[in-house]
Symmetry: C2
Subunit: 140 residues, 2 copies
Amino acid sequence: MVYIQIQNLKGKRPGVAEIAHEIEAPFYYTAKIFQRLVKQGFVRSLKGKGGGFFLDPEKKDLPLKEIIIAIEGDELFIGCGFGLKNCDENNPCPLHHQYGLIRNDINQLVTSETIQSLALSSLTNYVSLGFSREKTERKS
Amino acid sequence: MVYIQIQNLKGKRPGVAEIAHEIEAPFYYTAKIFQRLVKQGFVRSLKGKGGGFFLDPEKKDLPLKEIIIAIEGDELFIGCGFGLKNCDENNPCPLHHQYGLIRNDINQLVTSETIQSLALSSLTNYVSLGFSREKTERKS
DNA sequence: CTATTAAAAGACAAAAAGGTCTTTTAATAT
DNA sequence: ATATTAAAAGACCTTTTTGTCTTTTAATAG
């Protein structure tokens, strides 16, 4: 989704083949995943010539966290480091406190960053896409 | 494994039924997992009356990291936050730096903690097992 | 209107993870 | 020795994840 938004900001709409190549995933598998994302409303698509994927202007500022929760649930953000069901403040597992600090940082990261913020920083900073090895031109 | 060591420190050797109950996992599934851990040398076992699982004195001070790597590889400790194969310092993904900080903390945690250190802190501190809801007596 | 392009839908299939059960082996206690 | 206990081994099954392919639908260009 970040890659799509980066391309959108450049006025392009990438298709399955392009996205699959960038993230080094199989074509058909990537296609299926985006079918789900479109159905869930996170991404929009256009068929036919010049078609491809793009982000709804209202969705591009969603924090990563909401997208992750919609796709795989909130276990990462609230769950125990050992995966115990009964672990909480009253009944902490041996890793409870220390893992809690890390989990807080994860929450902080995915709450403050959005598809748009990551896309913009990829374009603004001297940071290549991470996806492919194409060279980014700097603004200067 | 931490639960086993806690029990070992109390002079007991828990069996599959007890461990499975504590971690709220199915009996047979738990049994299979420990068969693997025994085969890999992380845990030892004794059959028959009074039998059960216990940690080799030499293994109980292994950092969690080594155990995790042996079981599921080192992806968690070196991998990209977005799961990209091509992501590195020269070609960073949009999350590279920020996720790197979190990954460092994870590495720090699993490098400094061992089965023994966690077992001891469960027994020493006012910290219940996290596993069951049994009350811990304080030392005082 | 027709050809072309590209995603959507849905059927399949392979592989991995999760889970169950039976039989065998190795301890211990009597 | 024998009975009992408990893990080891391995067969088997179910569910989920991953991956592939064909057909259909929708958009655009000419």
